[in-house]
Subunit: 173 residues, 2 copies
């Protein structure tokens, strides 16, 4: 059994999703939540909330591996910078705890979860809930985090079937 | 005596500069270097090198406060994202060690160090070396890091003269 932490970083809210996968790639829902970064204090305090919040979840749930969504940067450089800072803090929380971290493009996540790289956000939310047997509407950031965790589970299982060392899946740039 | 850590974050190289300032605002050079992030491994390993490298310097030199340059984002969103990630990791290293961190715009740094917000990079390097009594040409990223530390020293001394709590200088932004 491998526990996977999925992260969908954002400068206002960071989605976190944790699943367990067995040797065949079958997934079980463990936890999901959105860490809200806004509130008191300046930019450093906001990053600290992410670093501490994500760190506390890692310490509580003890995942074996982490997966993070490659963010969409077709926005302004200012938004990209803020998003990058949140990503940098999220990755810091993960590497500080020695978790291997893989990165997946939004298109790969949609392909793995819905079956088409051009899927809508609502389809991702629907499929994530269906795959993990969750009822009710999932918060969007948490759904994306669970989706990237499911993508990593899928890639791991495929790599295993093909006899490729899991390590190679991890070191994807 | 207050020890200030200045940081000029970059996705390939991060400048670090450490100075001591006395109650009158007079500065003494302690250390400077550029942390090189490129090399082995993917993006997460690169951020880890920054997180670990900066953390080791903080543990060795034990600064009291940190100052970071607000980066110029008039580039592509992709560059801004990478720069943001480096900034996020640098700020993580600092807040993990409970250092208060202030942020200064490039224009404020030039104004404090050279006396004009539109100063050239070479002028900043020259003035930083002169203010700290350093001979020889300073590496550009380290010079920028020392410049932001000197700016923070200047702002602190001014705040003190005006009777404003140093805390207010810290919580800028």
């Amino acid at each position: 059994m491998t526990r996977i932490l999925g992260i969908d970083p954002g400068s206002q809210r960071t989605g976190v999703g944790i699943i367990d996968v067995d040797a065949t790639g079958r997934a079980r829902h463990v936890h999901h939540q959105a860490l809200v970064l806004l509130g008191e204090g300046g930019f450093a305090q906001r990053l600290r909330r992410l670093l501490d919040g994500l760190g506390a979840l890692i310490d509580e749930y003890r995942p074996d591996e982490a997966a993070i969504e490659q963010v969409f940067v077709g926005r302004s450089p200012e938004s990209a910078l803020k998003l990058g800072q949140a990503r940098g803090a999220a990755i810091s929380a993960v590497v500080l705890r020695d978790l291997p971290v893989s990165e997946y493009a939004a298109r790969e996540v949609k392909l793995a979860v819905v079956g088409t790289g051009g899927a809508e956000k609502a389809q991702v939310q629907h499929m994530v809930a269906a795959m993990l047997g969750l009822s009710g509407r999932l918060q969007a950031d948490a759904a994306d985090a669970l989706a990237v965790a499911l993508t990593h589970a899928h890639v791991r299982a495929t790599a295993r079937r093909l006899g490729v060392a899991a390590r190679e899946a991890w070191s994807r740039k």
